[in-house]
Amino acid sequence: MWVALSYACWGISIVLALWMLYDWFKIDTTYSEEMLTSSREGELEAVSEKHRI
């Protein structure tokens, strides 16, 4: 059973790794680099909270 579990672990790892690589390729070719890297630190804070003392 343990040996079978070991092979299953290899299988799951390979499938999920390939899925992530596929999704990575799909996202990078679908969206522009400007959009993907458009996150800005503090942006949400500035939107959701007004800082007043």
Binding site: W2, V3, L5, S6, Y7, C9, W10, I12, S13, L16, A17, W19, M20, L21, D23, W24, I27, Y31, S32, E33, E34, M35, L36, T37, S38, S39, R40, E41, G42, E43, L44, E45, A46, V47, S48, E49, K50, H51, R52, I53
Partner: protein, 466 residues
């Protein structure tokens, strides 16, 4: 002071950012999830360094160190609510070079801890199986890849899973504690026979100092809660609440763990076993407890690795976003809202270390980076209070007795460095040399790519004296 709250907006036009979906329970799950594995393995090596009583003394003293860490972190993070946690704090309060180093401390500490967790999980399964020729590599690969996939798919599910598996692992410690009649000595527990005046501190007080290195394992990683700052719905409330609740939880777990383990096995064995709680389950004679603690050991390792992937990726992502590293790393997945490139970049690195490094080396590098980070935090809070005194900016939490926690933290870090030097002096020197060289690279080469004004994002008034 007024806070006008509006619904959080994640996508503005063509912009995409991390998703604000987490609450205090997720913060607790992140912090305690990363740490709890230390109760299942790691802390007990303190007994090898200084005996069972030394393991208890460092449990309390290092508990003081981490209580200071949690209080200081809660105050600063409730104010600097950005992914990257201590990195963002360092950037705003100390400066870019410190921030760059702190981010590397974070990435190393969490990646090496993830590696240690995966090795532990693989070794635990192999030990349980007892099948000749069964290798731990498949279990290590599955742990790292499946958890990276979970992190890739979204932070909410990642930390929901962490909450459930951390809670099960924690409850298993409580069940073990209650099952051994902790109120009665002699029935199951034999503390007065196993820890005697003659063997309590076999190497004297220097043994207690040496035990600090592994006492860190009781709580290592609780500061990781701050990495969720940009993804919690209310950072000023959730981060201090989740972090402090996590610290209280861990202090209770550490005390229960020591009491049960020190009362069931002699310090000579306790100090060398890789599975103190699982062994404690076996020693009760109950197959149910043995299996429960076996599963709990696996779940604790999974929860820790899961949280570490989350935190290391966010620190790496933040470096990219500020151009401290190529901006390529700062990409956010438009559907899952996760730093997917950072997660994928760190995945093969973790796998490589897990396949080639041994557990002791990985743990030591993780602890070293962690203690470097805590040393920074003690200096950071002094500068923070000096530059922005109470009343000058809004704080979600204000820690008491300042500067006492900072001084205690700094002193305990110095003692811990000495303890690490006693056991792993060459690794300590190598790591300090690495950070020194990488600092030169950053200062003379990389910093010219950084947009200097854009990196400071907090809407604060000018610091005092500037």
């Amino acid at each position: 002071m007024t806070i006008a709250a509006e619904p959080a907006v994640q996508v503005q036009g063509d912009r995409v950012s991390l998703l604000r979906v987490l609450g205090p329970a997720h913060v607790w799950a992140l912090g305690v999830g990363i740490v709890l594995v230390g109760e299942f393995t790691g802390w007990n090596f303190a007994a090898d360094k200084g005996g069972a009583l030394a393991a208890l003394i460092v449990c309390w003293i290092v508990g003081l160190l981490y209580t200071s860490v949690a209080m200081i972190d809660s105050e600063v993070t409730s104010t600097v609510a950005a992914a990257g946690g201590q990195y963002a704090q360092a950037k705003h309060i100390v400066g870019p070079l410190m921030a760059f180093n702190v981010a590397l401390f974070l990435v190393f500490a969490y990646t090496m801890l993830e590696v240690s967790d995966a090795i532990l999980l693989g070794d635990t399964i192999v030990a349980k199986a007892g099948v000749e020729g069964l290798n731990h590599n498949s279990f290590i690969a599955a742990t790292i890849v499946v958890l990276a996939w979970l992190n890739y798919r979204g932070v909410l599910m990642t930390l929901n899973v962490n909450f459930v598996i951390t809670a099960i692992a924690y409850v298993s410690i409580v069940i073990l504690f209650l099952s051994v009649s902790p109120w009665t000595q002699g029935a199951v527990l034999k503390l007065n026979e196993l820890v005697t005046p003659g063997n309590a501190l076999p190497y004297g007080w220097i043994g207690v100092i040496a035990a600090f290195q592994f006492g860190i394992w009781y709580y290592l990683g609780i500061e990781g809660t701050t990495q969720a700052a940009e993804e919690v719905r209310s950072p000023a409330r959730s981060l201090p609440y989740g972090t402090m609740a996590g610290m209280i939880t861990l202090l209770i777990a550490a005390a229960m763990t020591w009491y049960v383990c020190a009362s069931l096995m002699p310090w000579e064995y306790l100090g060398i076993t890789y599975y103190p709680l699982w062994d404690a389950g076996k020693l009760t004679g109950s197959a149910l407890l043995e299996n429960l603690l076996f599963i709990a050991t696996l779940l604790a390792a999974l929860a820790s690795a899961n949280g570490c992937i989350n935190d290391a990726a966010r620190a790496w992502f933040s470096l990219g976003r500020d151009r401290y590293l190529p901006t390529w790393f700062s990409a956010v997945h438009p559907k899952y809202r996760t730093p997917y490139r950072s997660i994928l970049f760190l995945l093969p690195i973790a796998l490589a270390f897990a396949f080639i490094a041994d557990l002791n080396q990985a743990i030591t590098f993780s602890i070293l980076s962690g203690v470097l980070q805590y040393t920074f935090m003690s200096i950071n809070i002094i500068m923070f209070r000096k530059k922005w005194p109470l009343g000058s900016i809004r704080r979600g939490y204000t820690h008491p007795f300042h500067p006492l926690p900072a001084i205690v933290l700094f002193c305990l870090c110095v003692v811990t460095f000495f303890a690490i030097f006693l056991g792993f002096g060459s690794q300590l020197i190598a790591m300090v040399a690495f950070y020194f060289l990488i600092s030169l690279w950053f200062h003379f080469y990389r910093y010219k790519f950084v947009r200097r004004g854009a990196q400071f994002t907090m809407p604060w008034p000018k610091p005092q004296g500037y």
